[in-house]
Assembly symmetry: C2
């Protein structure tokens, strides 16, 4: 056993923004850290929609966790999946082993949820992982290919109808980008069908898009989307999704491509922590982000339910997760120093950004509201800046500059064991 | 019906180097062209090993066929898979329809072959498509992850043994790059296992590597590989491959990662053309590349068996396929002009290149033989030059420069529905 084995062991589950921020904030702490993730990479999720819409390749927004942490000598990275947590024994069991901890940070995030309609998942994929992004890319690109192959206009139409469900940032990004692809990227390339005839619908059950933003920005986002060619339907509930398309209220719409951006549910690991959960499955943590009865266990990021002074929840976005990760690290350091003064987590809101398309975005920073090109530039600079790794920033910038001037999207590659693995309404279930 | 419908219809099956060259060489011919491929992209196969070894992302070496051909008004691209050819009716049947042709060019290439041991495919993936490359990337990266997770040195060893079967250009490239990854890219990132202890074996049944090259270059390639840390075993037959590893002659070797670069077989479509085939399933075409009894049907690229004056076969490489494509196009033009003078295909051999690793390659041009850095520079310039699309060239150059100086490989991302989809010797069959 090396000397390090006697140091307190911090186990961190999940290498997203929250988990990674915790690891880094403990770089010079007298602890051994083990970061466990079931994937080998950290994902820059805010740009995942660009992979889904063929604008960026996967390695541009993902980096191996062990590459990111290769210089942090007190951190070990393991590829494994947590099965359960034994809080009394301070032990996490994984698919391929177990680890004892002195401190545990649970940062396993969220996945998409279909609100009791799990059968919709087959027809309306969501966007959380790189594999999700590849699945969406494949469906979108193949829809245009199917339309080109189809000689009967009645059969062709459903392949050119694209429905995005959910008017939050992801839905807005996807719908805006799909409209751009149909109107600008593809038209010259097809001979039999006309991609410009594609309809892109963005459906939101609530009264407005981007509910987390100021209502004036919601209205501006809607106008910018409509200028790009997106049909925006607010106050419209999706009541069914199947092989033929969607039902909007009572109205059926034939659409072969439906994308889900409507709901998230917290990671199921939250259920094992013995603490109360909110409706979305998030863990109601103590003010310092620890579990009420277990000050050595912290829950951070999208898995944590934290209320602000005004009663609203802190949002499930990257800056929150990072701040929570640094807070959990600070609490671990304090406890190592036997300092147990309560230190509640406070989210410092640095603003919110949502992108829509070329030179189209909205942003709010305190009382400042931006939209159109100024918001888009802020969004671009912020996202390039926060991308992990210098190389990625440079390549992403180059890819974007290229895409911007040429309207080309360089990652329009369909792969997958069955390159046509779109569920076929006439075929057997997958 | 538009006026174009009365023009002769040229159907081209396969959008590889051969098929694409045919389409382009017919750009200003009075024909309608339909290019059909089961994938949506042209693949720059000479760099596929870089995707498999995480050095390049897929979009850097692949471009959508319809993007490449968007300005060629007489060409239509369809995504579909040919099922059979009715030579008498001049009709190709596809999975989703059928096309009548006046001229047919069959350029559906080759796939890897296991010489009657199809059960080896599960344990030893080959490298022909992007999906193959992703599968190899996943296995190689996960092998190092498994080694890191494994605490028992006896259990760890097989995860650090890599066997590449086949000493042709692909095998040499894979083995050289694997050794580089183990020795230079990964070491600082692992805490429990040492990637430098990985063994990379290159196994060739014949007496020397790179049999298509001059023997002096084979010897140089072997020395360069050994300097990179590859163990080269020539004259060694692989007699078994299973969950535990390989058998080399009578000697078993425990290895969890075996890559297959040993054999190719021509596309099964060749069997439907009524012409004699060679042992590898290639079609024995007439001297002008047409089918003996069907002057309106041409077979080109890896699917065609063409002898040179000295009795050797023209090799299955990109320059040959391109020259064949241009030849088939010229023959179609001649026949449109009612010119039926025989015009046999002659391969103009512009030389051969094989890369091994950093500053390590071999090249021969006529009597000129190069190895080491000069050959590597020629290889680099040639491959960047021939990459389709300016953007790709620039980004690939940037990626390589970055990888060269930092030893990092930016595409080390493991994806796949089951991120650990390596066949598990203890698990059920896939």
């Amino acid at each position: 056993m090396d000397a390090g084995a006697t140091l307190p062991h911090v186990v961190i589950l999940g290498g997203g923004f929250g988990g990674l921020a915790t690891v880094r904030a403990l770089a010079d702490a007298p602890v051994r850290i083990t970061l466990v993730d079931r994937r080998n990479h950290h994902l820059f999720q805010p740009l995942l929609y660009q992979v889904a819409t063929a604008g960026l390749s996967a390695p541009s927004i993902a980096a191996p966790l062990r590459q990111i942490l290769r210089r942090q000598a007190n951190a070990t990275v393991l590829l494994d999946e947590a099965i359960d947590v034994d809080l009394a024994a301070r032990r996490v069991r994984f698919e391929h082993g177990a680890l004892d901890y002195d401190f545990l940070v649970v940062a396993t995030g969220a996945t998409h949820a279909y609100f009791g309609h799990d059968d919709w998942a087959r027809w309306a994929p969501g966007l959380k992982t790189l594999d999700d992004a590849f699945a969406i890319r494949r469906r979108v690109l193949l829809a245009f290919e199917r339309a080109e192959r189809e000689s009967d206009p009645g059969q062709r139409r459903p392949w050119l109808n694209f429905v995005v469900v959910g008017g939050g940032p992801t839905g807005v990004e996807l719908a805006g980008t799909l409209a751009e692809i149909a109107r600008h990227t593809l038209p010259r390339e097809f001979r039999r069908s006309d991609p410009r005839r594609a309809r892109v619908l963005l459906v939101e059950a609530g009264p407005r898009l981007l509910a987390a933003f100021d209502p004036s920005l919601s209205a501006k986002a809607q106008r910018q989307l409509e200028r790009l060619g997106v049909e925006v339907l607010t106050g419209t509930a999706v009541t069914a999704i199947d092989a033929q398309g969607v039902r909007l209220g009572e109205q059926p719409l034939a659409a072969r491509t439906v994308l889900w951006a409507a709901g998230v549910a917290a990671s199921p690991l939250g259920r094992q922590l013995g603490a109360p959960l909110d409706r979305a499955g998030r863990v109601r943590v103590a003010p310092d982000l620890s579990l009420p009865a277990h000050p050595e266990v912290f829950v951070i990021g999208d898995l944590a339910c934290v209320e602000r002074a005004d009663g609203t929840l802190v949002p499930g976005v990257a800056p929150v997760a990072k701040q929570m990760g640094r807070h959990a690290a600070a609490r671990i350091r304090a406890r190592l120093d036997a300092d147990s003064t309560p230190a509640p987590f406070h989210y410092r809101d640095r603003g919110a950004l949502a992108t829509i398309g070329r030179m189209a975005a909205v942003a709010q920073f305190g009382r400042l509201r931006l939209s159109g090109p100024p918001a888009w530039w802020v969004w671009l600079v912020a996202h390039i800046y926060f991308l992990i790794g210098f190389r990625n920033r440079l390549v992403v910038l180059l890819d974007w500059a290229w895409a911007y001037w040429t309207y080309q999207r360089h990652a329009r590659i369909v792969t997958g064991a069955d390159a046509e693995a779109v569920p076929d309404p006439d075929g057997p279930p997958p």
